[in-house]
């Protein structure tokens, strides 16, 4: 079921079901006697197939927000629902499963394993999944083709360029068919030209129905998104949904479809 979802691009769903629902989320770090409020009462709702950029200066809490949304970190208080499921009361093992099946991470420094090939790197999340084991090679191959690296599957990370590495990392994030794709500064280690091509890939994935959250501090990256959330001091400073649905996007989508098939 999940496999099928990952293999073929999904038709853009039009329902407004919330994928992520945050209510009064706080995250407090205790440093000695001081307590630091990294997140100070955040309430957010993300719908399916939304394309969100989270912006903010360093220390604004955007990374913490991403960790909480990615189920890597637990909120100190508040409610976090993912696909309608309350994650605040889940055990560590259950959270690991949630990360495996519903969340795809893309990191600034790619985090590929050096001694494994691109294919093996992409296969890795399926090793930990319940039903991805037997089909893992096929699925990894498919998703690598989807990000445009069908001819690089046997290469090791040190034989790939930065952009290609990030594509492998994106493929790895997508391989389990996650509900949300969380990207933390995905272009931070790339030059501007490569950044642009990676962002085009994100745009295309969005058109194929993927819910995407990008954490960034670069304006031009953020402008690819339809909704930009600014963070400041652990709070949402502004939440702007641009109603920019330009015609070139539809055109681009058609181009991509053509190119893929």
């Amino acid at each position: 079921m999940i496999a099928a979802e990952a293999d073929k691009p999904v038709i853009r769903p039009q329902n407004d079901k919330p994928v992520i629902k945050l209510q009064d989320i706080t995250r407090v770090y205790k440093v000695g006697v001081e307590s630091i409020h990294a997140l100070d009462g955040i309430s957010l709702e993300l719908k399916e197939n939304e394309y969100v950029a989270v912006m903010g200066t360093s220390g604004s809490g955007k990374s913490t927000l991403m960790n909480v949304m990615g189920c890597l970190d637990r909120a100190t208080s508040g409610y976090y629902g993912l696909d309608g499921q309350d994650t605040t009361k889940l055990s560590d093992a259950a959270l690991a499963r949630v990360r495996n099946e519903r969340i795809g991470f893309v990191f600034q420094s790619f985090e590929l394993l050096g001694q494994l090939t691109a294919l093996k790197n992409v296969e890795m999340p399926l090793i930990y999944s319940k039903n991805g084991w037997w089909s893992r090679r096929k699925r990894a191959k498919n998703v690598l083709e989807r990000v445009g690296l069908g001819d690089r599957i046997k290469h090791r990370p040190n034989q790939l360029s930065g952009g290609e590495k990030q594509r492998v990392a994106i493929a790895r994030a997508l391989v389990c068919g996650p509900s949300i794709l969380l990207a933390d500064e995905p272009t931070g280690n790339l030059d501007s030209k490569t950044s642009e091509s990676i962002m085009e890939l994100f745009d295309r994935l969005h058109h194929e129905g993927q819910t995407i959250i990008i954490v960034t501090h670069e304006e031009h990256i953020a402008h690819h998104a339809e909704r930009i959330i600014h963070m400041k001091d652990g709070r949402v400073d502004s939440d702007i949904t641009s109603n920019r649905v330009p015609s070139d996007k539809t055109k681009m989508q058609n181009d991509e479809r053509g190119g893929l098939s």
């Binding site: 890597l72 890795m124 790895r172």
Partner: protein
Amino acid sequence: MRALMRALMAFLRLFYQSVYLSLGQIWANKTRSILTTIGIVIGVASVTAVIAALSGLKAKILTQVETLGSNTIFISPKRPETGPLQHAPYWSIRFLPEHFDGMLEHCPSVERFGRQTWVGGHTVTHRERSADNVSVRGIEPECHKIESRPVTLGRPLSVIDEMQVRQVCLIDPKLRNDLRLDRDCIGEPILIGHNTFYIVGVLEARPESMFGGGDQETSEIFIPFRTSFKLRRYLYVGVIAESKSAEVSDDARAEISFFLRRTRNIKPGEPDTFEVQSLKNILDMFNDIALKVTLVAGGIVGISLLVGGVGIMNIMLVTVSERTREIGLRKAVGAKKSAILTQFLIEAVVLCFVGGLVGVGFGQLLTTGIANIPNVELDMAYIPLWAIGLAFGFSGTVGIFFGMFPAIKAARLDPIEALRHE
């Protein structure tokens, strides 16, 4: 049931994956892995070599027993461990030939017995040729039947030789060669010391024996028991006997002891001044010694494995801290604590197993080396299958024991911290 199957499948996958990954890691860090496992290698190699040597010795003894006959009983004087005779001179507790007169009538489980004397090394001369240090033994004819040394040429010693105290002898082929005698040397006179003896037969060459002493360098001469007292007035006497069957060998020993206590005038309550040993008995004693040696060797090996294990733990800790980011990533993509734990534990165990494998290989080399040392009676040394199992079992246990701490450390890492780690 289904859930159980699922869990099992999940574990098998993880197991396969972990083994695959860890072999990759070991291959990637070859030098480090070799240095780390050296402790295990040495431990396993030495324990397998020791076990191989002991197994070889045992196999050797067992084949000896087969040639000697498992019903054989050895009777010899022995100082008691307690009492006034504890430090008695050996001469005072020696056997006299007459101690054994009538033993067969009193010991129903004993089939036959034969007295023998060790005259010691003599120079044997035939014309101009002589051989030094030939071991001369006086035997009763019955000894032939107990100790299966076939006579290949001529005849064995007979009761008549014994009765008439004839100066006849049996020689072994080595002595015949040394003295340059004809192949058919029956009837030839030879000089033992200054006494002339006539050769009546040639014995088959001695099988390599642990009992009856000596190596194959010295040759042997057998003369009638009573004749041996002509060569030397005072001789130590020993007796070999044979029980009617292996089952009654303990009965036979008891009967002989009882009989000897009477003939040697040992009062009730006084300790025995002799010992009666069956081959089974001797084998038991050997097994006992072998076990002790194995235990001591095991102790030494245990220390070596301990050191090796600490090395493994150390290197696994280094690995965990080197691969912190990888652990973080694996956790981020959904690896549970148990998965990380298993991965690192299996890596440690695989490292130990590789060490064990190399160790068994070295053990085999050592064993081949031991088996080829001349004159050490270890040419049958081999590594039994259970020793290999034991070696692997031990190294696996060391891997689990010393790999546990680093693996737990890895499993407990916080994914966010781990991903931020430099």
